[in-house]
Amino acid sequence: MSAEAADTGAILPQRGGLSGRLSDLFWKRPGLLVFLMLTPPVLWLGIVYLGSLFTLLIQSFYSLDEFSGLVIPEFTFKTYAELLRPSNFDIIMRTVVMAALVTLASAIIAFPIAYMAARYARGKWKALFYLGVMLPLWSSYLVKVYAWKLILAKEGILTWLFEVLHITPILDAILAIPVIGGNSLSVSYIGTFLVFVYVWMPYMILPTQAALERVPINLTDASSDLGGNPWQTFRHVIFPLALPGIIAGSIFTFSLTLGDYIIPQIVGSSRLFIGQAVYTQQGTAGNIPLAAAFTVVPIVIMGFYLWMAKRQGAFDAL
């Protein structure tokens, strides 16, 4: 837009009325309009969101008096040192490993759906794929978790299915695996993992599909014309071009798994994840500083993650 042209020689005479004069003003000074438009959202997000984050950050540098159970508002690193205790550090590691596995599995399951939708589906099929992803994505989070409880519970659908197929020993063998197994799938890490993947995977499909849609077909054609087999075409052409989309999707799958405390509470074993630790520390334990310090962990991890993603150009694929 050429604001300078309007400044130097106006084609039209000045407009009358308040709205006319305001329009002239904004036309001559587009910066002013942008400033006015940005003020409300930036104030809101700046005060409500960043402001709260900041108070949280401050509290993480406070500590809890072990005798009185009161928060001492003095600057200290003591609470952060507590994070390194084996029991707390285990929680962090467990959560990060789970988030990484969920992200990886999501990418693997999402890719064929995204590729099919981007490359082959047309017209009616395209709409079907879109709704097939959007409806589960936007359906109630708790209903989805609940549905999985029905599937994974001891008397639930999977147990029944294994019985009908006469392969119950396989289920028993899976449940007997130490650490990730348990009494039933609904109180095991396997169950937690399945539900995490189910609930967050759709967030992977959409950005991957968006990235795949931008892959020019003549590039894949060129690859096969030059003698590349489908695997080579995937490996050297499609995958690198889809990667920013996958990384964009992974921001969501990783971050959402990192902070969730409801899924592991409803489907999972008694060993905590970061979200649950935060929740119990601020609630029943009343240890706000430790809860705050725990939340700084995902913030730092996600800060690093977002920085990496930005360098990979993932933000354009969001």
Partner: protein, 270 residues
């Protein structure tokens, strides 16, 4: 057209189909459970089918109270998010300025960071400034993460709307408000409506942030969470779950119809 569905390799078709099944089957199961006669546990297959629990659910005041709070919060949060998100999208998409990337990061941050962080951050701010829990503390949290949905929809549409349309309108003598009313709004209207509906769905369903900002109040997701942890009448939960799924399908289908013709927006072929 050389690439149609039939030419897809069968392995890909199989993988995509299996993936979609994985996404859909659990939702369908909810529908069956809403009719089961089994009251205490999760027995499958259902021993019998009944409509009784729909009537019981209808007569439960706690469900209605929670539902009404959820609807009110979602309506107000959506309205706020639509204003803030549209303003932000208009500013970011029409011009380039210093700090533009920072702003888009700021908008994305509330959903890019885990929800529990938004929740506990708000909670700690409320306690530090001694703000009592109320309807507005819930709205505050919800509006913050709803902005991004409206923003994303609006930005995508603004990018497709040609700037020359706006210049033409101004050249023809319209002032800024007329241009907004007759040129910009008709072009972005459906995208805004779609964004608004998705924001509504997002707020209606939110549970993690809400647990920290609701105090003693109960939104419908909080009611469900309570039932999941301490079940009172499981069949009622089943019925509510099914109704919630059906109700959230509507705005999504509507949002889909509103944005699917986005390619034909005036000026898209610039």
């Amino acid at each position: 057209m050389r690439s149609d569905l039939d030419k897809a390799p069968w392995g890909l078709k199989l993988a995509a189909g299996a993936g979609l099944l994985y996404l859909f089957v659990p939702l369908l199961i909810i529908f069956v459970y809403a009719f089961t006669t089994e009251e205490k546990s999760f027995v499958w297959p259902p021993p019998g089918l009944t409509l009784k629990w729909f009537a019981v659910t209808w007569g439960r005041p706690d469900v209605w109270v929670a539902l009404s709070l959820s609807l009110q919060v979602a309506a107000v949060a959506t309205a706020i998010a639509m204003v803030l998100g549209t303003l932000c999208a208009a500013a970011v998409s029409q011009t380039r300025f210093f700090g533009r990337e920072m702003i888009s990061l700021l908008v994305i941050l509330p959903i890019a960071l885990p929800g529990i962080i938004t929740g506990i951050a708000l909670r700690s701010a409320f306690s530090m400034f001694e703000i009592p829990f109320s309807f507005w503390t819930i709205v505050l949290g919800h509006a913050t993460f709803c902005v991004v949905v409206v923003y994303n929809n609006a930005v995508a549409r603004f990018r497709r709307t040609s700037g020359s349309l706006i210049e033409a309108s101004m050249d023809l003598g319209a002032d800024g408000f007329q241009t907004f009313r007759y040129v910009i709004l008709p072009n972005i209207g459906t995208a805004l409506l779609a964004g608004g509906m998705l924001a509504f769905a997002l707020s209606f369903d939110e549970v993690i942030v809400t647990t920290f900002t609701a105090g003693q109040q109960q939104t419908l997701p909080l009611w469900m969470l309570e039932e999941l942890i301490r079940p009172r009448q499981r069949p009622v939960t089943n019925v509510v779950a099914m109704v919630v799924v059906l109700v959230t399908f509507l705005p999504i289908l509507l949002a889909f119809y509103l944005t699917r013709d986005g390619d034909q927006v005036a000026g898209a072929g610039k």
